[in-house]
């Protein structure tokens, strides 16, 4: 009975493999990403749309230039259900069974972790646009690159900015998962080194629905800055609830999701001066402007002002590496590790598998646009401080 099912499974997989082979000459690029489950919200805003947009653009221009020959790109994308075992199994299929030419990473730190060792072992280069963890970069896997800024970079930039604004005291809330804890760890160290007082620090679980009691207690302590290491729903929650109770410190910072167009829609007329994790906007450069327009044209929505552009830039890097050395994956890896690439975020090169060209950044909502305000070398606008009162 089991043997039968093995046969059935084998023939089904054979079917999948043969249909793939029909798309003659195409460069097959596989990935799994969350289309369902808790990670889908992030994955479908910041990552998969960029895969689709890039493939469409490359194919519209005739394809990817491989060893002097233009070949179309064929994306093979599966749902990873936001589940670890599923994501591992799917990449095993892509690399071992389908033998795709290249793979793209899944969404998020945890899922990237789960497939990173596998990709490394089988020699598939991977540039992760939504993985941010010291634990991951510390593994120093030669085939795995991160293009998003890492926790210590983002938090050091934040602390430097606070010092420049003369902030003496802060209150911090953070989500108690790996992302929140690594960032808050880096932040605490940076604050201590600058002698900034930490008046209050509270953690909260994923999926929190009410933080107003916490915010009220923080308001009582009257810090110069409020810093939230938060995810999109909680970013909106703390912003709305801070406004409701009139908690309006000089600096108001909430991490992930401030860069989402949704934030502006949800905080109608109340975004002015709010800071968060962002690294670019359409003013960053001509290429960024074109990307911004192309994203709207294809999906009828704006890209977010942080990870989206990093996801798209990772594909540009992969493309340039392939056009330089062909589809030999070890050589692609070396090309990525050693080269410098022109992207919508400007030139990027890697050091120790990390993006060495884009420093930690801080962005701020100003007149309906999320502007990069720190550091000055990346800024698209000058920082406004103190934050104006909520409407």
């Amino acid at each position: 009975m089991l043997r039968n099912s093995i046969c059935i499974a084998a023939s089904l997989l054979g079917l999948a493999a043969s249909t793939a082979a029909l798309a003659d000459e195409a460069v097959r690029i596989g990935y799994a990403i969350a289309r369902t489950g808790p990670f889908a919200g992030g994955a479908q805003v910041s990552q998969e749309p960029n895969y689709l947009l890039w493939a469409e653009q490359v194919n519209a221009k005739g394809g990817l230039m491989v060893a002097g020959k233009q070949r179309k790109v064929e994306l093979i994308g599966y749902d990873d259900r936001s589940d670890t075992e599923t994501v591992v199994r799917t990449y095993e299929k892509l690399m071992n069974q389908d033998k795709v030419d290249l793979v793209l990473p899944p969404w998020g730190t945890g899922q990237t972790f789960a497939v990173a060792t596998l990709a490394n072992k089988l020699g598939y280069p991977m540039i992760a646009p939504t993985a941010s963890s010291k634990k991951l970069t510390d593994m120093k896997l030669p085939f795995v690159f991160t293009i998003l800024q890492q926790p210590d970079q983002m938090m050091n930039a934040l602390a430097d900015m606070l010092v420049a604004q003369g902030v003496k005291t802060v209150a911090v809330v953070h989500v108690d998962d790996l992302f929140g804890l690594e960032n808050v760890d880096a932040l605490s160290k940076a604050l201590a080194s600058h002698n900034i007082g930490l008046l209050d620090k509270k953690s909260y679980p994923l999926g929190v629905k009410d933080l107003s009691p916490v915010l009220k207690a923080m308001k009582e302590k009257n810090p110069d800055a409020f810093l939230g290491i938060t995810y999109p729903p909680d970013t909106i929650l703390v912003s709305k609830q801070a406004r409701e109770i009139g908690f309006n410190p000089k600096i108001f910072y909430a991490a992930v999701g401030t860069a989402f167009p949704l934030y502006k829609a949800q905080l109608t007329g109340n975004t002015e001066g709010v800071m968060g994790m962002g690294s670019w906007n359409a003013k960053t450069g001509a290429a960024a402007k074109d990307y911004f327009a192309a994203h709207i044209a294809k999906f009828q929505k704006e890209p977010d002002r942080w990870a989206s552009a990093h996801a798209y830039a990772s594909l540009q890097i992969l493309q340039q590496a392939v056009e330089k050395v062909g589809l030999d994956r070890a050589r692609i890896r070396d090309a990525i590790a050693g080269g410098e690439f022109q992207t919508i975020l400007g030139p990027i090169k890697f050091k120790d598998g990390m993006n060495a060209s884009i420093p930690g950044t801080v962005s701020q909502w100003q007149k309906g646009e999320f502007e990069v305000v720190w550091p000055k070398t990346r800024a698209t606008a000058t920082l406004v401080s103190p934050k104006p009162a909520w409407n």
């Binding site: 043997r3 259900r81 634990k135 690594e182 760890d185």
Partner: protein, 301 residues
């Protein structure tokens, strides 16, 4: 008793799989075997006793954390044993309290326990190491994990068959039929239930300890995934809870079918899977097991 000999070729074939095929086929079979082991361990206790448990997630997660904590300090096979013992110990301890409840109260309570275990581990990890999540350096090879889970699945089947034939199985069935009456007939319900609950938990814990090696990175939310507990119950119900074969067939068909649909229809496979579940309960209400010829009168009801 010679029954199992005719299965030897199949077992040998399964054990040889890592040498015959690619890593994806191995991991696909691994998923099937993981759910075979979990479903059989579930049905071992919950089938005859009719105590619908959603604690599988808790036991699986506890086992996984044994590997996460112990890897690098202890040999991996020992950690599987450790996972089994930790899960069985937890089951025996909480069983003292929760096994007093019946029906849906028990089901929802065991679900609550899984969630409680998740948050307790999360807090413990934070207070001990200041962070959540652990990176597993030097995890066991995939083939070793596969063989371990195969062994666990076979052991679960053998244990279930042995249990159901013996006095404990009869006592559990008595409890499932009428607990008060069973008590008057000289069965100590709590002791019987505790033994069954702990034995089932041991297998789920060992499976968790084995599977953790696959995932480089472990955090409480990935290993205490409620989907694992729910899917196990679902598999047994789709397969049929009255015989071991039901759990086995349910696990294999469910795993292969959901994988096939996911690959073939990447955007709406869950809609199809949902419709198939509804149709199966409408048109195959007694489970896939009803499709099998009933060779001998199964003594387990």
């Amino acid at each position: 008793m010679k029954d199992w000999i005719k299965w030897l070729p199949l077992i040998a074939a399964l054990a040889a799989v890592p040498w015959l095929t690619n890593a994806y086929m191995v991991s696909l079979l691994l998923t099937c075997l993981m759910y075979v082991a979990l479903a059989v361990s579930w049905v071992m206790f919950s089938g005859p006793s009719r105590y619908l448990s959603l604690a599988t997630t808790a036991f699986f997660g506890i086992g996984a954390y044994c590997t996460a904590w112990g890897l690098g300090h202890l040999p991996w096979p020992l950690l599987l044993l450790g996972g089994a013992l930790a899960a069985a110990g937890t089951a025996a301890l909480v069983g003292l309290f929760v096994l007093k409840l019946r029906g849906s109260y028990f089901a929802v309570l065991t679900f609550g326990l899984s969630e409680l275990a998740l948050h307790v581990i999360n807090q413990t990890e934070r207070s001990i190491s200041g962070t959540v999540g652990r990176v597993l350096l030097n995890p066991p090879e995939q083939d070793a994990i596969y063989l371990a889970v195969l062994a666990l699945a076979l052991a679960a089947i053998a244990c279930c068959a042995w249990l159901w034939r013996g006095p404990l199985g009869h006592a559990l069935r008595g409890i499932g039929a009428d607990e008060d009456r069973a008590a008057t007939l000289g069965v100590n319900p709590l002791r019987v239930k505790l033994a069954g609950f702990a034995l089932a938990a041991a297998f789920a814990g060992a499976v968790g300890a084995a599977m953790a090696g696959r995932w480089t990175y472990i955090d409480p939310h990935t290993v205490f995934n409620p989907l694992i507990g729910f899917q196990t119950v679902l598999i047994v119900m789709v397969g049929g809870a009255s015989r071991i074969q039901g759990a086995v067939i349910g696990a294999v068909i469910f795993s292969l079918l959901s994988e096939f649909l996911r690959m073939r229809f990447p955007y709406f496979y869950l809609v199809l899977l949902g419709l198939l579940l509804i149709l199966s309960v409408l048109y195959l209400p007694n489970g896939l097991i009803a499709l099998l010829p009933r060779k001998k009168a199964a003594a387990h009801g």
